[in-house]
Symmetry: C2
Subunit: 287 residues, 2 copies
Protein backbone atom coordinates (compact mmCIF):
# COMPACT_ATOMS: atom_id res chain seq x y z
CA UNK A 1 0.00 0.00 0.00
CA UNK A 2 1.39 3.34 -1.05
CA UNK A 3 0.86 6.13 1.48
CA UNK A 4 0.91 9.44 -0.41
CA UNK A 5 -1.13 11.87 1.69
CA UNK A 6 -2.91 14.59 -0.27
CA UNK A 7 -4.87 17.49 1.03
CA UNK A 8 -5.44 19.78 -1.89
CA UNK A 9 -6.94 17.97 -4.86
CA UNK A 10 -9.82 15.74 -5.71
CA UNK A 11 -8.23 12.77 -4.02
CA UNK A 12 -7.70 13.89 -0.51
CA UNK A 13 -7.65 13.02 3.16
CA UNK A 14 -11.29 13.09 4.37
CA UNK A 15 -12.40 16.49 5.62
CA UNK A 16 -13.34 15.27 9.11
CA UNK A 17 -9.69 14.41 9.76
CA UNK A 18 -8.42 17.67 8.30
CA UNK A 19 -10.80 19.59 10.56
CA UNK A 20 -10.06 17.53 13.68
CA UNK A 21 -6.39 18.57 13.82
CA UNK A 22 -4.74 21.80 12.78
CA UNK A 23 -1.29 20.32 12.20
CA UNK A 24 -0.55 18.46 8.91
CA UNK A 25 1.70 16.11 10.89
CA UNK A 26 -1.23 15.03 13.04
CA UNK A 27 -3.73 14.85 10.17
CA UNK A 28 -1.44 12.67 8.05
CA UNK A 29 -0.33 10.46 10.93
CA UNK A 30 -3.92 9.78 11.95
CA UNK A 31 -4.99 9.05 8.36
CA UNK A 32 -2.06 6.67 7.84
CA UNK A 33 -2.54 4.91 11.18
CA UNK A 34 -6.18 4.14 10.43
CA UNK A 35 -5.27 2.83 6.96
CA UNK A 36 -2.54 0.61 8.42
CA UNK A 37 -4.72 -0.58 11.29
CA UNK A 38 -7.48 -1.62 8.89
CA UNK A 39 -5.26 -3.39 6.37
CA UNK A 40 -2.09 -4.67 8.08
CA UNK A 41 -3.19 -8.31 8.13
CA UNK A 42 -3.57 -8.26 4.34
CA UNK A 43 -0.26 -6.77 3.18
CA UNK A 44 3.48 -7.05 3.91
CA UNK A 45 4.77 -3.57 3.04
CA UNK A 46 3.82 0.09 3.00
CA UNK A 47 5.43 2.56 0.59
CA UNK A 48 5.27 6.19 1.71
CA UNK A 49 6.03 8.66 -1.08
CA UNK A 50 8.58 11.14 0.31
CA UNK A 51 7.42 14.06 -1.86
CA UNK A 52 4.08 14.47 -0.08
CA UNK A 53 5.65 14.49 3.39
CA UNK A 54 8.04 17.18 2.19
CA UNK A 55 5.22 19.14 0.58
CA UNK A 56 3.30 19.39 3.85
CA UNK A 57 6.49 19.85 5.88
CA UNK A 58 5.39 16.69 7.65
CA UNK A 59 8.49 14.58 8.23
CA UNK A 60 7.27 13.93 11.77
CA UNK A 61 4.24 12.21 10.23
CA UNK A 62 6.59 10.14 8.05
CA UNK A 63 8.57 8.98 11.08
CA UNK A 64 5.42 8.28 13.11
CA UNK A 65 3.92 6.31 10.21
CA UNK A 66 7.04 4.18 9.82
CA UNK A 67 7.18 3.51 13.55
CA UNK A 68 3.53 2.48 13.60
CA UNK A 69 3.98 0.23 10.57
CA UNK A 70 6.87 -1.54 12.31
CA UNK A 71 4.68 -2.11 15.36
CA UNK A 72 2.25 -3.86 13.05
CA UNK A 73 5.06 -6.02 11.61
CA UNK A 74 5.03 -4.30 8.24
CA UNK A 75 8.13 -3.44 6.23
CA UNK A 76 8.57 0.06 4.83
CA UNK A 77 9.90 1.08 1.41
CA UNK A 78 10.52 4.82 1.36
CA UNK A 79 9.84 5.96 -2.19
CA UNK A 80 12.32 8.80 -2.44
CA UNK A 81 14.22 8.10 -5.70
CA UNK A 82 17.31 9.69 -4.18
CA UNK A 83 20.53 9.88 -6.17
CA UNK A 84 23.94 11.34 -5.55
CA UNK A 85 27.55 10.26 -5.09
CA UNK A 86 30.09 9.41 -2.39
CA UNK A 87 29.55 11.06 1.00
CA UNK A 88 26.34 12.71 -0.23
CA UNK A 89 24.89 9.36 -1.19
CA UNK A 90 25.96 8.07 2.21
CA UNK A 91 24.13 11.02 3.85
CA UNK A 92 20.94 10.11 1.97
CA UNK A 93 21.30 6.47 3.02
CA UNK A 94 21.74 7.53 6.64
CA UNK A 95 18.68 9.78 6.57
CA UNK A 96 16.57 7.08 4.90
CA UNK A 97 17.44 4.23 7.24
CA UNK A 98 18.54 5.95 10.46
CA UNK A 99 16.65 9.26 10.61
CA UNK A 100 13.36 8.19 9.01
CA UNK A 101 13.74 4.50 9.91
CA UNK A 102 12.73 2.95 6.58
CA UNK A 103 13.71 -0.64 5.74
CA UNK A 104 14.25 -0.01 2.04
CA UNK A 105 14.12 2.77 -0.50
CA UNK A 106 13.93 3.52 -4.20
CA UNK A 107 17.01 4.91 -5.98
CA UNK A 108 17.77 6.50 -9.33
CA UNK A 109 21.05 5.11 -10.74
CA UNK A 110 21.66 7.59 -13.57
CA UNK A 111 24.92 8.46 -11.76
CA UNK A 112 26.22 4.87 -11.83
CA UNK A 113 27.65 2.66 -9.10
CA UNK A 114 29.16 5.62 -7.16
CA UNK A 115 25.66 6.48 -6.00
CA UNK A 116 24.73 2.92 -5.05
CA UNK A 117 27.92 1.66 -3.40
CA UNK A 118 27.43 3.43 -0.03
CA UNK A 119 24.07 1.68 0.35
CA UNK A 120 25.39 -1.73 -0.67
CA UNK A 121 28.46 -1.56 1.55
CA UNK A 122 27.07 0.04 4.69
CA UNK A 123 23.43 -1.02 4.77
CA UNK A 124 23.44 -4.71 3.91
CA UNK A 125 20.29 -5.40 5.88
CA UNK A 126 18.31 -2.78 3.98
CA UNK A 127 16.64 -3.10 0.61
CA UNK A 128 17.17 -1.01 -2.51
CA UNK A 129 15.03 -0.65 -5.61
CA UNK A 130 16.71 0.87 -8.66
CA UNK A 131 14.48 2.63 -11.22
CA UNK A 132 14.65 0.63 -14.44
CA UNK A 133 11.45 1.24 -16.40
CA UNK A 134 9.12 3.73 -14.78
CA UNK A 135 5.34 3.58 -15.10
CA UNK A 136 4.78 6.97 -16.77
CA UNK A 137 4.19 7.51 -20.51
CA UNK A 138 7.29 9.68 -21.02
CA UNK A 139 9.58 7.07 -19.50
CA UNK A 140 10.31 6.33 -23.16
CA UNK A 141 12.00 9.73 -23.64
CA UNK A 142 15.22 8.45 -22.19
CA UNK A 143 14.72 4.88 -21.00
CA UNK A 144 13.80 3.62 -24.48
CA UNK A 145 16.79 4.92 -26.40
CA UNK A 146 18.60 2.18 -28.28
CA UNK A 147 21.95 1.80 -26.64
CA UNK A 148 25.15 -0.16 -26.66
CA UNK A 149 28.31 -0.44 -24.63
CA UNK A 150 31.50 0.19 -26.59
CA UNK A 151 35.05 0.73 -25.42
CA UNK A 152 35.80 3.63 -27.71
CA UNK A 153 33.91 6.26 -29.61
CA UNK A 154 33.26 4.93 -33.11
CA UNK A 155 34.32 7.44 -35.72
CA UNK A 156 32.45 5.94 -38.62
CA UNK A 157 29.44 3.82 -39.36
CA UNK A 158 31.82 1.15 -40.63
CA UNK A 159 33.53 1.00 -37.31
CA UNK A 160 30.20 0.54 -35.59
CA UNK A 161 29.42 -2.31 -37.98
CA UNK A 162 32.79 -3.93 -37.45
CA UNK A 163 32.12 -4.16 -33.76
CA UNK A 164 28.79 -5.78 -34.61
CA UNK A 165 27.10 -4.10 -31.73
CA UNK A 166 23.78 -5.15 -30.41
CA UNK A 167 21.48 -2.26 -29.66
CA UNK A 168 19.17 -2.58 -26.71
CA UNK A 169 16.85 -0.19 -24.94
CA UNK A 170 18.51 1.93 -22.24
CA UNK A 171 16.32 0.49 -19.50
CA UNK A 172 17.67 -2.95 -20.37
CA UNK A 173 21.19 -1.67 -19.81
CA UNK A 174 20.05 -0.32 -16.46
CA UNK A 175 18.68 -3.76 -15.56
CA UNK A 176 21.99 -5.33 -16.62
CA UNK A 177 23.91 -2.87 -14.42
CA UNK A 178 21.76 -3.95 -11.47
CA UNK A 179 22.51 -7.56 -12.31
CA UNK A 180 26.27 -6.82 -12.44
CA UNK A 181 26.21 -4.82 -9.19
CA UNK A 182 24.37 -7.59 -7.38
CA UNK A 183 26.76 -10.41 -8.27
CA UNK A 184 28.36 -10.74 -4.85
CA UNK A 185 25.37 -9.95 -2.71
CA UNK A 186 24.18 -12.41 -0.13
CA UNK A 187 20.91 -14.08 -0.99
CA UNK A 188 18.10 -14.79 1.46
CA UNK A 189 16.18 -17.68 -0.02
CA UNK A 190 16.68 -16.86 -3.73
CA UNK A 191 16.56 -13.07 -3.49
CA UNK A 192 19.19 -10.48 -2.59
CA UNK A 193 18.54 -6.92 -1.40
CA UNK A 194 19.13 -5.06 -4.69
CA UNK A 195 15.79 -4.83 -6.44
CA UNK A 196 14.40 -2.85 -9.36
CA UNK A 197 11.36 -0.72 -10.13
CA UNK A 198 9.31 -1.51 -13.24
CA UNK A 199 5.91 0.05 -13.87
CA UNK A 200 2.86 -2.24 -14.04
CA UNK A 201 1.91 -0.20 -17.10
CA UNK A 202 4.69 -1.97 -19.07
CA UNK A 203 3.99 -5.75 -19.00
CA UNK A 204 6.24 -6.46 -22.01
CA UNK A 205 9.18 -4.76 -20.34
CA UNK A 206 8.40 -6.53 -17.04
CA UNK A 207 8.87 -9.86 -18.82
CA UNK A 208 12.24 -8.86 -20.28
CA UNK A 209 13.52 -7.44 -16.99
CA UNK A 210 12.35 -10.42 -14.89
CA UNK A 211 14.67 -12.61 -16.99
CA UNK A 212 17.68 -10.32 -16.48
CA UNK A 213 17.40 -9.75 -12.73
CA UNK A 214 16.41 -13.27 -11.69
CA UNK A 215 17.30 -12.76 -8.03
CA UNK A 216 15.92 -9.25 -7.61
CA UNK A 217 12.59 -8.26 -6.18
CA UNK A 218 10.68 -6.11 -8.63
CA UNK A 219 8.72 -3.25 -7.14
CA UNK A 220 5.76 -2.76 -9.49
CA UNK A 221 3.93 0.55 -9.12
CA UNK A 222 1.08 1.71 -11.33
CA UNK A 223 -1.63 -0.77 -10.31
CA UNK A 224 -5.06 0.83 -9.96
CA UNK A 225 -5.12 4.61 -10.39
CA UNK A 226 -2.48 4.53 -13.13
CA UNK A 227 -4.53 2.01 -15.07
CA UNK A 228 -2.68 -1.31 -14.78
CA UNK A 229 -4.57 -4.48 -13.92
CA UNK A 230 -3.74 -7.86 -12.39
CA UNK A 231 -2.90 -9.46 -15.74
CA UNK A 232 -0.32 -6.75 -16.41
CA UNK A 233 1.82 -7.50 -13.36
CA UNK A 234 2.03 -11.26 -13.80
CA UNK A 235 5.28 -10.98 -15.76
CA UNK A 236 7.01 -9.39 -12.78
CA UNK A 237 6.85 -12.63 -10.80
CA UNK A 238 9.02 -15.70 -11.35
CA UNK A 239 7.74 -19.15 -12.25
CA UNK A 240 7.09 -19.89 -8.55
CA UNK A 241 4.89 -16.81 -8.28
CA UNK A 242 7.52 -14.96 -6.23
CA UNK A 243 9.56 -11.78 -6.51
CA UNK A 244 6.96 -9.16 -7.34
CA UNK A 245 5.89 -6.36 -5.00
CA UNK A 246 2.77 -4.74 -6.44
CA UNK A 247 1.97 -1.23 -5.26
CA UNK A 248 -1.24 0.72 -5.35
CA UNK A 249 -1.45 4.12 -3.67
CA UNK A 250 -4.38 6.33 -4.61
CA UNK A 251 -6.46 3.31 -5.59
CA UNK A 252 -6.38 2.11 -1.98
CA UNK A 253 -6.08 5.34 0.03
CA UNK A 254 -8.97 7.01 -1.71
CA UNK A 255 -11.03 3.90 -2.48
CA UNK A 256 -13.93 5.45 -0.52
CA UNK A 257 -14.47 7.93 -3.36
CA UNK A 258 -14.70 5.27 -6.06
CA UNK A 259 -17.01 3.17 -3.91
CA UNK A 260 -19.13 6.20 -2.96
CA UNK A 261 -18.67 5.43 0.74
CA UNK A 262 -18.97 8.19 3.30
CA UNK A 263 -15.47 9.64 3.89
CA UNK A 264 -15.48 8.29 7.47
CA UNK A 265 -15.34 4.79 6.01
CA UNK A 266 -12.08 5.33 4.11
CA UNK A 267 -10.38 2.54 6.11
CA UNK A 268 -13.09 0.01 5.32
CA UNK A 269 -12.99 0.99 1.64
CA UNK A 270 -9.20 0.56 1.59
CA UNK A 271 -9.51 -2.91 3.13
CA UNK A 272 -12.08 -4.00 0.55
CA UNK A 273 -9.93 -2.64 -2.27
CA UNK A 274 -6.92 -4.62 -1.05
CA UNK A 275 -9.00 -7.81 -0.69
CA UNK A 276 -10.15 -7.32 -4.28
CA UNK A 277 -6.61 -6.59 -5.48
CA UNK A 278 -5.17 -9.63 -3.67
CA UNK A 279 -7.85 -11.90 -5.10
CA UNK A 280 -7.29 -10.68 -8.65
CA UNK A 281 -3.50 -10.95 -8.43
CA UNK A 282 -3.58 -14.40 -6.81
CA UNK A 283 -5.94 -15.60 -9.52
CA UNK A 284 -3.56 -14.41 -12.22
CA UNK A 285 -0.65 -16.13 -10.47
CA UNK A 286 -2.69 -19.32 -10.03
CA UNK A 287 -2.44 -19.20 -6.23
Amino acid sequence: MGLDPRMDKEEQIPQHLVEAYDDPNKIITEFNKILIEKTCDLLPIIKPQMAFYEKYDALKALKATIKFAHKKDLLVILDSKRNDIGPTSEAYAYSTFKVYGADACTLNAYLGIDGIRPYLENYRENGLFILVKTSNPSSRDFQNLFSARLDEIPDSKTEIEKKSIKLERSYIHMARLVQIWSKNLQKFSEFHNLGVVVGATYPHELKIIRKIVKNSFILIPGYGAQGAQAKDIKNGFNEKGLGGIVNSSRGIMFAYKKKNYPPENFGKAAREEILDMNEKINKELGI
Copy 2:
Protein backbone atom coordinates in the same frame (compact mmCIF):
# COMPACT_ATOMS: atom_id res chain seq x y z
CA MET B 1 29.40 28.20 -2.75
CA GLY B 2 28.08 24.79 -1.85
CA LEU B 3 26.81 24.45 1.71
CA ASP B 4 27.03 20.79 2.69
CA PRO B 5 27.35 20.73 6.48
CA ARG B 6 29.28 17.79 7.91
CA MET B 7 29.82 16.87 11.50
CA ASP B 8 31.24 13.39 11.48
CA LYS B 9 34.27 13.10 9.25
CA GLU B 10 37.61 14.75 8.65
CA GLU B 11 35.99 17.74 6.98
CA GLN B 12 33.65 19.08 9.56
CA ILE B 13 32.06 22.09 11.19
CA PRO B 14 34.61 23.51 13.68
CA GLN B 15 34.35 22.04 17.15
CA HIS B 16 33.73 25.36 18.90
CA LEU B 17 30.43 25.71 17.01
CA VAL B 18 29.43 22.11 17.65
CA GLU B 19 30.04 22.64 21.36
CA ALA B 20 28.33 26.03 21.54
CA TYR B 21 24.91 24.64 20.57
CA ASP B 22 23.37 21.26 21.26
CA ASP B 23 20.95 21.32 18.33
CA PRO B 24 22.21 20.43 14.81
CA ASN B 25 19.77 23.02 13.43
CA LYS B 26 21.49 25.78 15.39
CA ILE B 27 25.02 24.53 14.72
CA ILE B 28 24.46 24.32 10.97
CA THR B 29 22.57 27.61 10.75
CA GLU B 30 25.31 29.46 12.61
CA PHE B 31 28.06 27.88 10.48
CA ASN B 32 26.25 28.76 7.25
CA LYS B 33 25.41 32.30 8.35
CA ILE B 34 29.05 33.07 9.10
CA LEU B 35 30.15 31.62 5.75
CA ILE B 36 27.52 33.69 3.90
CA GLU B 37 28.29 36.85 5.90
CA LYS B 38 31.99 36.58 5.07
CA THR B 39 31.58 35.84 1.36
CA CYS B 40 28.28 37.28 0.08
CA ASP B 41 29.90 40.20 -1.72
CA LEU B 42 32.00 37.78 -3.79
CA LEU B 43 29.42 35.32 -5.08
CA PRO B 44 25.90 35.27 -6.57
CA ILE B 45 24.53 31.91 -5.46
CA ILE B 46 24.69 29.35 -2.68
CA LYS B 47 23.96 25.67 -3.28
CA PRO B 48 22.87 23.73 -0.19
CA GLN B 49 23.07 19.96 -0.63
CA MET B 50 19.75 18.54 0.61
CA ALA B 51 21.23 15.20 1.74
CA PHE B 52 23.18 16.69 4.63
CA TYR B 53 20.20 18.62 6.01
CA GLU B 54 18.20 15.40 5.91
CA LYS B 55 21.01 13.44 7.51
CA TYR B 56 21.07 15.73 10.55
CA ASP B 57 17.29 16.09 10.57
CA ALA B 58 18.01 19.79 10.11
CA LEU B 59 15.47 21.13 7.64
CA LYS B 60 14.98 24.14 9.92
CA ALA B 61 18.63 24.99 9.30
CA LEU B 62 18.04 24.67 5.57
CA LYS B 63 15.12 27.08 5.70
CA ALA B 64 16.99 29.54 7.95
CA THR B 65 20.02 29.41 5.64
CA ILE B 66 17.92 30.12 2.56
CA LYS B 67 16.18 33.00 4.31
CA PHE B 68 19.50 34.50 5.38
CA ALA B 69 20.96 34.11 1.89
CA HIS B 70 17.99 35.98 0.45
CA LYS B 71 18.56 38.83 2.94
CA LYS B 72 22.07 39.07 1.55
CA ASP B 73 20.72 39.19 -2.02
CA LEU B 74 22.00 35.74 -2.93
CA LEU B 75 20.12 33.22 -5.03
CA VAL B 76 19.72 29.64 -3.83
CA ILE B 77 20.00 26.44 -5.85
CA LEU B 78 18.78 23.52 -3.75
CA ASP B 79 20.82 20.51 -4.82
CA SER B 80 18.26 17.78 -4.32
CA LYS B 81 18.29 15.83 -7.62
CA ARG B 82 14.61 15.04 -7.14
CA ASN B 83 12.73 13.01 -9.71
CA ASP B 84 9.21 11.67 -10.00
CA ILE B 85 6.10 12.08 -12.14
CA GLY B 86 2.81 13.97 -12.24
CA PRO B 87 1.35 15.06 -8.90
CA THR B 88 4.39 13.65 -7.06
CA SER B 89 6.73 15.78 -9.12
CA GLU B 90 4.45 18.73 -8.40
CA ALA B 91 4.70 17.96 -4.66
CA TYR B 92 8.51 18.02 -4.87
CA ALA B 93 8.40 21.33 -6.76
CA TYR B 94 6.11 22.80 -4.10
CA SER B 95 8.36 21.67 -1.25
CA THR B 96 11.48 22.99 -3.01
CA PHE B 97 10.16 26.45 -3.85
CA LYS B 98 7.37 27.03 -1.32
CA VAL B 99 8.31 25.04 1.78
CA TYR B 100 12.10 25.42 1.70
CA GLY B 101 12.04 28.66 -0.31
CA ALA B 102 14.78 27.87 -2.85
CA ASP B 103 15.01 29.79 -6.14
CA ALA B 104 16.17 26.83 -8.22
CA CYS B 105 16.94 23.14 -7.89
CA THR B 106 18.70 20.24 -9.54
CA LEU B 107 16.61 17.48 -11.15
CA ASN B 108 17.24 13.99 -12.51
CA ALA B 109 15.34 13.48 -15.79
CA TYR B 110 15.66 9.69 -16.18
CA LEU B 111 11.83 9.61 -16.07
CA GLY B 112 11.43 11.97 -19.03
CA ILE B 113 9.33 15.10 -19.49
CA ASP B 114 6.55 13.87 -17.14
CA GLY B 115 8.87 14.65 -14.25
CA ILE B 116 9.90 18.08 -15.51
CA ARG B 117 6.61 19.47 -16.86
CA PRO B 118 5.11 20.43 -13.45
CA TYR B 119 8.16 22.61 -12.76
CA LEU B 120 8.15 24.22 -16.21
CA GLU B 121 4.43 24.95 -16.20
CA ASN B 122 3.84 26.05 -12.64
CA TYR B 123 7.14 27.60 -11.56
CA ARG B 124 8.25 29.75 -14.46
CA GLU B 125 10.16 32.13 -12.24
CA ASN B 126 12.27 29.35 -10.76
CA GLY B 127 15.36 27.73 -12.19
CA LEU B 128 15.98 24.06 -12.98
CA PHE B 129 19.20 22.21 -13.61
CA ILE B 130 18.91 18.78 -15.24
CA LEU B 131 21.68 16.26 -14.59
CA VAL B 132 23.44 15.62 -17.90
CA LYS B 133 27.00 14.49 -17.18
CA THR B 134 27.78 14.15 -13.49
CA SER B 135 31.23 14.77 -12.01
CA ASN B 136 31.85 11.29 -10.57
CA PRO B 137 34.02 8.58 -12.19
CA SER B 138 31.16 6.06 -12.55
CA SER B 139 28.96 8.53 -14.40
CA ARG B 140 30.20 6.59 -17.42
CA ASP B 141 28.32 3.44 -16.30
CA PHE B 142 25.11 4.72 -17.79
CA GLN B 143 25.64 8.23 -19.13
CA ASN B 144 28.30 7.07 -21.61
CA LEU B 145 26.37 4.30 -23.33
CA PHE B 146 26.22 4.77 -27.08
CA SER B 147 22.62 5.48 -27.93
CA ALA B 148 20.25 6.29 -30.73
CA ARG B 149 16.62 7.23 -31.16
CA LEU B 150 14.65 4.91 -33.44
CA ASP B 151 10.95 4.67 -34.06
CA GLU B 152 10.78 0.91 -33.91
CA ILE B 153 12.74 -1.93 -32.46
CA PRO B 154 15.17 -3.13 -35.12
CA ASP B 155 14.95 -6.89 -35.49
CA SER B 156 18.20 -7.37 -37.34
CA LYS B 157 21.56 -5.73 -37.79
CA THR B 158 20.57 -5.07 -41.41
CA GLU B 159 17.61 -3.09 -40.30
CA ILE B 160 19.80 -1.00 -38.02
CA GLU B 161 22.12 -0.34 -40.96
CA LYS B 162 19.26 0.59 -43.24
CA LYS B 163 18.25 3.30 -40.84
CA SER B 164 21.82 4.56 -40.83
CA ILE B 165 21.64 5.52 -37.23
CA LYS B 166 24.10 7.80 -35.55
CA LEU B 167 25.19 6.61 -32.16
CA GLU B 168 25.89 9.20 -29.49
CA ARG B 169 26.60 9.01 -25.80
CA SER B 170 23.52 8.87 -23.58
CA TYR B 171 24.39 12.13 -21.82
CA ILE B 172 24.30 13.86 -25.22
CA HIS B 173 20.75 12.60 -25.70
CA MET B 174 19.90 13.99 -22.27
CA ALA B 175 21.31 17.37 -23.32
CA ARG B 176 19.26 17.21 -26.52
CA LEU B 177 16.11 16.45 -24.51
CA VAL B 178 16.77 19.56 -22.42
CA GLN B 179 17.20 21.55 -25.61
CA ILE B 180 13.89 20.21 -26.99
CA TRP B 181 12.04 20.83 -23.71
CA SER B 182 13.29 24.41 -23.54
CA LYS B 183 12.20 25.46 -27.02
CA ASN B 184 9.26 27.62 -25.95
CA LEU B 185 10.68 28.98 -22.73
CA GLN B 186 10.96 32.70 -22.21
CA LYS B 187 14.52 34.00 -22.25
CA PHE B 188 15.92 36.63 -19.92
CA SER B 189 18.83 38.16 -21.78
CA GLU B 190 19.96 35.08 -23.71
CA PHE B 191 19.25 32.46 -21.07
CA HIS B 192 16.07 30.63 -20.07
CA ASN B 193 15.40 28.88 -16.78
CA LEU B 194 16.06 25.28 -17.82
CA GLY B 195 19.73 24.60 -17.16
CA VAL B 196 21.93 21.53 -16.97
CA VAL B 197 24.51 20.03 -14.63
CA VAL B 198 27.89 18.99 -16.05
CA GLY B 199 30.82 18.06 -13.81
CA ALA B 200 33.96 20.23 -13.97
CA THR B 201 35.83 16.94 -14.06
CA TYR B 202 34.69 16.43 -17.69
CA PRO B 203 35.97 19.40 -19.75
CA HIS B 204 35.60 17.56 -23.08
CA GLU B 205 31.95 16.82 -22.36
CA LEU B 206 31.40 20.41 -21.16
CA LYS B 207 32.46 21.63 -24.59
CA ILE B 208 30.06 19.30 -26.41
CA ILE B 209 27.14 20.13 -24.13
CA ARG B 210 27.73 23.92 -24.23
CA LYS B 211 27.12 23.74 -28.00
CA ILE B 212 23.86 21.80 -27.62
CA VAL B 213 22.22 23.86 -24.88
CA LYS B 214 23.25 27.33 -26.04
CA ASN B 215 20.67 29.17 -23.94
CA SER B 216 20.99 27.10 -20.76
CA PHE B 217 23.02 27.93 -17.71
CA ILE B 218 25.41 25.11 -16.90
CA LEU B 219 25.85 24.32 -13.22
CA ILE B 220 29.42 23.02 -12.93
CA PRO B 221 30.21 21.15 -9.71
CA GLY B 222 33.49 19.42 -8.96
CA TYR B 223 35.80 22.42 -8.65
CA GLY B 224 38.28 22.10 -5.79
CA ALA B 225 37.84 19.06 -3.59
CA GLN B 226 36.84 16.82 -6.53
CA GLY B 227 40.02 17.83 -8.37
CA ALA B 228 38.90 20.10 -11.21
CA GLN B 229 40.74 23.39 -11.85
CA ALA B 230 39.94 26.70 -13.51
CA LYS B 231 41.12 25.55 -16.95
CA ASP B 232 38.68 22.62 -16.80
CA ILE B 233 35.55 24.76 -16.47
CA LYS B 234 36.28 27.21 -19.26
CA ASN B 235 34.34 25.13 -21.79
CA GLY B 236 31.14 25.55 -19.78
CA PHE B 237 30.96 29.26 -20.60
CA ASN B 238 29.93 30.77 -23.93
CA GLU B 239 32.12 32.98 -26.12
CA LYS B 240 31.10 36.03 -24.05
CA GLY B 241 32.26 34.35 -20.86
CA LEU B 242 28.69 33.82 -19.66
CA GLY B 243 26.45 30.90 -18.76
CA GLY B 244 28.60 28.91 -16.34
CA ILE B 245 27.88 28.55 -12.61
CA VAL B 246 30.93 27.02 -10.97
CA ASN B 247 30.41 25.34 -7.62
CA SER B 248 32.85 24.44 -4.90
CA SER B 249 31.59 23.07 -1.59
CA ARG B 250 34.14 21.39 0.64
CA GLY B 251 36.99 23.38 -0.92
CA ILE B 252 35.44 26.58 0.44
CA MET B 253 33.62 25.45 3.59
CA PHE B 254 36.61 23.63 4.99
CA ALA B 255 39.35 25.83 3.50
CA TYR B 256 40.61 26.49 7.03
CA LYS B 257 41.96 22.94 7.19
CA LYS B 258 43.91 23.18 3.95
CA LYS B 259 45.31 26.58 4.98
CA ASN B 260 46.12 25.36 8.49
CA TYR B 261 44.12 28.22 10.01
CA PRO B 262 42.65 27.90 13.48
CA PRO B 263 39.08 26.55 13.11
CA GLU B 264 37.66 29.85 14.40
CA ASN B 265 38.89 31.47 11.18
CA PHE B 266 36.87 29.23 8.86
CA GLY B 267 35.01 32.25 7.46
CA LYS B 268 38.20 34.13 6.64
CA ALA B 269 39.66 31.01 5.00
CA ALA B 270 36.48 30.57 2.92
CA ARG B 271 36.68 34.18 1.73
CA GLU B 272 40.31 33.81 0.69
CA GLU B 273 39.54 30.58 -1.13
CA ILE B 274 36.75 32.26 -3.10
CA LEU B 275 38.96 35.23 -3.96
CA ASP B 276 41.56 32.78 -5.26
CA MET B 277 38.93 30.80 -7.18
CA ASN B 278 37.42 33.93 -8.74
CA GLU B 279 40.84 35.18 -9.79
CA LYS B 280 41.79 31.88 -11.40
CA ILE B 281 38.47 31.50 -13.23
CA ASN B 282 38.42 35.12 -14.44
CA LYS B 283 41.97 34.72 -15.74
CA GLU B 284 40.96 31.63 -17.72
CA LEU B 285 37.95 33.48 -19.14
CA GLY B 286 40.11 36.49 -19.98
CA ILE B 287 38.08 38.82 -17.75
